[in-house]
Symmetry: C2
Subunit: 390 residues, 2 copies
C-alpha cells in the first residue's frame, strides 16, 4: 500500500496524516441540524482550539465558514490571531479570557474575550473607555466545574449591578458542562438549572451551554448557540453508543525495514517483547515524539494489507515495531504504508489502548507528519435549488 498524496512532503515523510475537511463540515451540519430539530433558531459554533484538535485550525476555520458557521472559539490569544488572518470578519472568542495587559491585542485583532471573573470584566470595561468604543464581551458563568467562570457570588453582582457591563456589548453568556457525556448523570440537570437562572436574570443576551455531548442531552440544553469541538473532528460524543459522527483523520506510517527474527529474540529497548516463534518484524516511521504514546506498548495494532498487525515492544521516539509474520512478504516492503488511524482504528479506539481519551490522541497528533487535506464532492452541501425561469 502506498501512502496518500504525491507531493514532496509526502515523499519525504515518515507518516502522512489525512484530514477530511468535508467530513468535519458534514459533522458540523449534523450538529447544527440537531439544534434546529426542535424548531427553534439555534445556531452552531465551532471550537477550533489546540489547532482544531490537531487537524489544522487555519484550514478548518475557513471550510466551516464556507459551510455557514458564524462563531469560532479558541483557547489562546495567539490561536485567535492566527485564525483572524484567514477569517477576517467573523467573531472569534478566546476562552482563556483576558490576560493582564492584552486588551490592546484583543482590540487590534477584533477578538472577543470570554470574561471569567470580575477582574477581567473590569479590565475590559477599562479598555472600552480608553478606546472610546463599545466592545463585545462573553460572560462565562461557572455552574459547577470550578475551573473558569464567574462564581455564584460574582454572578450575583452582575445580576444586581448591570451597570458593571456599561461600555460593553454582551455578545453571549456561556457555561461548561462537567459530565455531559454521561447522559444520566444528575449533575447535568443541576448545571442546566443554574445556567437557566442566570440567563433569565440577564435578559437580552444569547446563551450557549452545549458542547459536543451536550448537544445530545436534548433541546433544553441548546439555548441559542451550540458549541461543539470534539464531535466535529469525529470523536464520539456518546461513549456508550455507536458513533454518529463521520471519521475525520487517517494516519498512515511508512515501513522503513522488515527483518526476520528467530524465536526468543527480543525487539526494542529494554527487550520488552520476545518472539514466541520465528517471524518477521517491520519498523515504521512514527514514535512517541509523534503522539504515538509510550502507553501503547504491546497493546495495540495497525492495519496492513487487510491484516491486523500487532504493535510490539516499546514505542521509540521516532520508530515503532510491528509483528508482520502473518503478512505476505510482497505486501510488506520498505516504503509501504500501514494504517495507524482510520477505519480499523478510530482515535477513540486508540485512546482506549493508550488508556486516555480521544481528545488527547487528537491534540497530540505529531508535527512531523506530512498533512494531506481532502474534501470529497459527496460531502459538499446540497446546492440551493435553482430558481425556475419565469
Amino acid at each position: 500500500m502506498s501512502l496518500p498524496g504525491d507531493n514532496d512532503a509526502v515523499r519525504r515523510a515518515g507518516a502522512v496524516l489525512t484530514v477530511d475537511l468535508g467530513a468535519i463540515a458534514a459533522n458540523w451540519r449534523g450538529l447544527r441540524d440537531a439544534g434546529r430539530a426542535a424548531g427553534r433558531p439555534v445556531d452552531c459554533a465551532a471550537v477550533l482550539k489546540a489547532d482544531a484538535y490537531g487537524t489544522g485550525a487555519t484550514l478548518v476555520g475557513p471550510r466551516l465558514a464556507a459551510e455557514g458557521c458564524r462563531h469560532f472559539f479558541v483557547a489562546h490569544i495567539d490561536e485567535a490571531i492566527a485564525l483572524r488572518a484567514v477569517l477576517p470578519e467573523l467573531p472569534i472568542y478566546v476562552l482563556n479570557g483576558l490576560l493582564p495587559g492584552t486588551e490592546g491585542d484583543f482590540v487590534e485583532h477584533r477578538l472577543v474575550p470570554v470574561l471569567n471573573h470580575l477582574g477581567q470584566l473590569n479590565a475590559w470595561r477599562g479598555a472600552a473607555q480608553r478606546y472610546s468604543r463599545p466592545l463585545d464581551a462573553v460572560i462565562h458563568v461557572d455552574t459547577g466545574l470550578n475551573r473558569l467562570g464567574f462564581n455564584p457570588d460574582e454572578a450575583q453582582v452582575l445580576v444586581n449591578e448591570r451597570g458593571r457591563l456599561r461600555g460593553l456589548r454582551l455578545a453571549l453568556i456561556i457555561s461548561h458542562l462537567i459530565a455531559s457525556e454521561e447522559q444520566n448523570n444528575p449533575v447535568n440537570g443541576e448545571q442546566l438549572s443554574r445556567f437557566r437562572t442566570f440567563v433569565k436574570a440577564m435578559p437580552g443576551a444569547p446563551a450557549s451551554l452545549a458542547n459536543s455531548s451536550g448537544v445530545f442531552l436534548g433541546p433544553d440544553y441548546h439555548f441559542d448557540l451550540l458549541r461543539p469541538g470534539a464531535a466535529l473532528y469525529g470523536i464520539n460524543p456518546l461513549p456508550d453508543q455507536s458513533n454518529p459522527m463521520l471519521p475525520v483523520v487517517t494516519l498512515n506510517a511508512r515501513i522503513l525495514q522488515v527483518r526476520k527474527i528467530d524465536a526468543f529474540q527480543t525487539v526494542g529497548y529494554g527487550g520488552a517483547w520476545r518472539a514466541a516463534r520465528p517471524g518477521r518484524v517491520a519498523t515504521i516511521a512514527l514514535g512517541y515524539a509523534d503522539g504515538y504514546f509510550r502507553t501503547l506498548i504491546n497493546r495495540t495494532h495497525v492495519q496492513l494489507a487487510g491484516h491486523r498487525v500487532p504493535v510490539i515492544g516499546r514505542i521509540s521516539m521516532d520508530l515503532t515495531t510491528i509483528d508482520v509474520t502473518d503478512v505476505p512478504e510482497a505486501q510488506c516492503q520498505p516504503g509501504d504504508g500501514v494504517e495507524v488511524l482510520g477505519a480499523h482504528m478510530t482515535p477513540d479506539d486508540l485512546a482506549e489502548h493508550a488508556r486516555t481519551n480521544a481528545y488527547e490522541v487528537m491534540t497530540s497528533l505529531g508535527r512531523r507528519y506530512a498533512r494531506v487535506y481532502v474534501d470529497r464532492p459527496e460531502l459538499q452541501p446540497e446546492p440551493e435549488p435553482a430558481e425556475q425561469p419565469a
Copy 2:
C-alpha cells in the same frame, strides 16, 4: 511571580518555556570531555531529532556548532533540511535512513543517510552512479535491538563483499544500545562485542555506539564518536544516581483565575477531585494539548511563591487546576506565573508522576508556549588563553 521574558509572545502566552542554550552547550562539553578522559581522540556529536527533544533544533544546532560540535543526527529528512538552513556546512545524518525516492533530496541538501539494510545501500549506490560523485554514507549495524540496522546476515555480506560500498564513502559505522541506562545489564557487553567484531571487519571507518547513557558505560563504549541526545537536554543518563547534567528547560504557566471553594465541592471534569476543606483553587493556562499529560491527574504539583502546590482534578485540554489554599492571596493572583518544570520539578520528576519517561515529557512540550532562549555568560566556554606578547 511574573513570567520570564518581556516580548509580545510572552505577554499573550498562557505559559512560557525557557530553554537554556548555555546549559545544553555545557552538557555537550561535559560529555565530550568524558569521551576525552581516557586520552583518546573521541569526538562528540549531538542528536537533534524531534526538534532537539522539544527545545528547538534550529537554535540548538548553531549553538552547539559554535561550541565545537561537528556532527549532527536527526530522524527525518525534513528535520535535516530545516537544520541544513542554519548549519550550511557540517554533516547532518538522517537516522531513519533513505526512503524510496528521496535520493535526490539527500543529494540536494548534502545530507548523509544512515543506511539500515542492503536495499537502502543499493539505492544510495545507485544515486552515486547517477550523480557521478562519491556520496557519504553511514552504516547502521544492528547488534540486538531488532529495530533498524543491518542484521547479522546482511552485515556479513558487507564484510565479505566490500565492493558493495563502491562509489560510497563510509563516513561512520553506528549501532544502538538496548539498555544502556542499566549499567549492569549483560546485554551491553554482548552488544559491544558484536559491534567490535563488525567494526574490526570494516577497517578504516570511524565508529559510534554510545548514546547518552552509553557514554557512562566507560571508554570501551566510546569508539570514535559519542552520540548523545537526552543528556544534552538535561535528562538524567544515570537513572539510579544523581543527575550529572545541568537542567535545560523551565516551564512557567500563568494563573487565569483564583476562586474560593467550599468543602465537598468538586473541581474539574467528572468531579474527579473533591475539596476536603474550604479553600482556594487556581486555574493555570496549560493542559494536555500542551503536553501536560492526562495521567498527571491528582498526581503532581507545581511551585508557587516557594510553596509546593498540588495539581487537582482532571487535566483539561487547555487548563489545569491547582490547590492554592496554603498560598497567601497576595502571592496568587491572575497573571502570576507558577513553575511547572524547573528546579523543583525536572522532566525526569514529571515523567515519574506521569508514568512515562523524560524523553516523552520533552518531545511532548507544547507548541503553544511562548519560548524564551537564554545563554548565560557563566556557561560560555573559557576563552583560549591569550598569547603572551613577545
